[in-house]
């Protein structure tokens, strides 16, 4: 059984990573070194000007450790990929399914069911915990509309209809998202999703956490032998990890969004931890980024009972489990794909 391993984040500018025996050796500009045994790692995420030696990249690829390169502010730049490994039959089947609109729609519906149900749970939890501080009637309204979306999702035929339902559900959800931001006043107002660049602090946090999540989900898919680039709901586009984005849909609300909400509501990040550029883009500073990374890693260690397998596992391993279940479904060992329903 796979264990949940740690992710190494390198934010020190000018750092250079090389292979030293079985370790990742990080050399910083001031000459200090740190060593991390490869077997304790699931992934390496490099921010900004960080170099990695080719031999280390090769070694990490061989050990199924994902490597991503991001700008210093967390925008995705590139990832490295080793020789294509894993089961070619599984991947071929995945491509056949992706080419087949009906088949794709079956998987997409499961993923979206996970997304909508989990978004619903997030709203319900907010109402339960903070009924006095937020507009419960408005959230109740949104909950009813999400119920309606979920019901229509079951009847929806074809990918286009599914996408329509998804778009509506996302609209309903993000329209009331601001209600759940309880602290921070004007600085943390949220008026809808925007990105590239994010124009407010909440969007900045959301985009950053989604990037981290995409890295982890992609590496989970690669580990089970699926091609992260070929999605069912998200269509192929060069450089876009379509299947990773598909699988992420289940995790966005209860994993990423709640993480952002609790960081703000517990005042772990403050309005001062961001800079606004002339163009209106909002960037987080080093301290905030560190806080977010810390919270993200901590959240991955939270133990949950898997809704389908009824097994206790750290949340970080749930990405891997979902990827595994999807692979089993594609391979024909499972009749349906059971999404992760958060309770």
């Amino acid at each position: 059984m796979k264990t949940h391993c740690n992710t190494l984040y390198v934010t020190s500018q000018g750092a250079y990573l090389s292979k030293d025996g079985e370790c990742v050796l990080v050399r910083l500009e001031d000459g200090t070194k740190a060593r991390f045994p490869v077997h304790t790692l699931d992934g390496v995420v490099c921010f900004g000007n960080v170099g990695v030696s080719p031999f280390l990249l090769g070694h990490l690829a061989e050990r199924d450790v994902a490597v991503s390169f991001l700008t210093a502010y967390g925008k995705f730049l590139a990832r490295s990929q080793g020789p294509v490994s894993g089961n070619v039959l599984l991947r071929r089947e995945q491509y056949r399914w992706a080419d087949d609109g009906e088949r794709s729609a079956l998987v997409a519906r499961c993923v979206l069911a996970g997304k909508i149900v989990n978004a619903r749970s997030v709203l319900r939890r907010a109402v339960r915990d903070h009924a006095d501080k937020l507009d419960a009637a408005r959230l109740g309204d949104a909950l009813a509309r999400l119920d309606d979306c979920a019901a229509r999702l079951e009847r929806a035929q074809g990918l286009e209809m599914l996408r329509g339902v998804e778009g509506e559900a996302a609209g309903v959800y993000f329209a009331v998202f601001d209600e759940m931001v309880l602290r921070g006043g004007e600085a943390f107002r949220f008026a809808g999703r925007n990105r590239r660049p994010p124009l407010d602090r909440i969007n900045c946090l959301l985009s950053f956490v989604y990037t981290l999540l995409a890295h982890d989900v992609r590496s989970a898919l690669e580990c089970v032998g699926l091609d992260p680039a070929v999605g069912f709901l998200h269509r192929d586009r060069p450089g876009r990890p379509g299947l990773a984005l598909d699988l992420m849909e289940e995790f966005r609300s209860f994993f990423a969004d709640r993480l952002v909400l609790s960081l703000v509501n517990r005042e772990q990040v403050g309005p001062g931890g961001f800079t606004v550029t002339e163009s209106g883009a909002v960037l987080m500073d080093d301290g905030t980024r560190r806080t977010v990374l810390e919270a993200y890693q901590k959240r991955k260690r939270d133990v949950l009972t898997h809704p389908f397998l009824k097994e206790k596992m750290p949340l970080g391993l749930a990405f891997h489990t979902q990827a595994l279940l999807l692979a089993r479904h594609v391979r024909g060992d499972l009749d349906g794909y059971p999404p992760f329903f958060w309770q």
């Binding site: 740690n6 992710t7 020190s12 045994p37 790692l41 560190r290």
Partner: protein
Amino acid sequence: MLVLVSYDVDFRDGTGARRLRRIARACQDYGQRVQYSLFECDVDPAQWTKLRGRLLEEIDKDKDSLRFYYLGSNWRRRLEHVGAKAGRDPDGLLLV
């Protein structure tokens, strides 16, 4: 599980330095150095078998000694650190 590996290598003949270096390298591949000849290795049973095999191959049983302390997977409550250079938690945030 966490295994604590400590060693003592005899230096009286000229070959000790080589053994010391190679033992340290094996430990470094699997864990972190917490004191001069003391390593904390967070390993699963398969990895531990490999590391142990490597260590036993390196030492000269007539002159050196190795000690393994098995702290299990619930090792956090069995460990207390006082003073400088606290090791990093292998499950904590790895940020450099």
